[in-house]
């Protein structure tokens, strides 16, 4: 199928699993971050910097970035293949969908690299 070739793994079941595993990672990461900010109302630079300089936090953040990329890709791929179809767009659907997915893929890759730069630049 033309729509299948662009999914993350060529397997719907694998994508389904990737979406859920990445969801749990992201939930844990954001609940931790929001909880940390709530628990430390008068947060200063030194403490904030120390948190992200910690190796465990770097690994957790990197894991969250990977999960964000995968989660966003599965989500945007689903939207693209559900709505950017020949039924909605006619003959140009494949080109439009490919361009949309390309922009999404580049954005996710760029965010990932940017995130790594921030984590290892401090």
């Amino acid at each position: 199928m033309v729509t299948n070739v662009t999914n993350l793994s060529r397997s719907g079941l694998y994508d389904w699993m990737a979406q859920r595993v990445s969801a749990v990672v992201l939930a844990a990461y954001f609940i931790f971050l929001i909880g940390y900010l709530i628990a430390n109302p008068g947060l200063g630079y030194a403490q904030w910097h120390a948190l992200f300089a910690n190796n465990a936090m770097r690994i957790f953040s990197l894991l969250a970035f990977v999960a964000l990329g995968a989660h966003a890709w599965v989500g945007m791929w689903t939207i693209a293949t559900d709505y950017l179809t020949p039924m909605a767009l006619g003959k140009s659907a494949t080109a439009v969908r490919f361009l949309f997915q390309a922009v999404c893929g580049i954005a996710m890759f760029a965010y990932f690299v940017w995130g790594v730069q921030i984590l290892w630049g401090i």
Partner: protein, 85 residues
């Protein structure tokens, strides 16, 4: 968000700039909006995981679940607003 993270981690001045920026009403509204979307997505996602386990998969269960998601999200979003202000 990444820009703010990078700036706040990059230097003490950057941290101060981000902190000062976040005191404005507009910035608080934007943060509240982003946090609201995240919280709703999170609550609805947890419901999906619960339904994957086979809980609440009937028509009535689905209707009840969606109402619970809306109610829990609304409470969390109000709490987020209280926290931000």
């Amino acid at each position: 968000m990444l820009y703010a993270l990078g700036k706040s981690l990059g230097s003490e001045e950057g941290f101060g700039e981000v902190k000062a920026c976040l005191t404005s009403v507009l910035a608080k509204l934007v943060i509240w909006g982003l946090l609201s979307a995240l919280l709703y997505h999170l609550v609805a996602g947890i419901r999906h995981l619960i339904m994957d386990m086979g809980i609440g998969e009937t028509l009535e269960g689905g209707k009840l679940g969606s109402k619970i998601v809306l109610a829990v999200s609304a409470v969390l979003i109000v709490l987020a607003g209280v926290w931000i202000w």
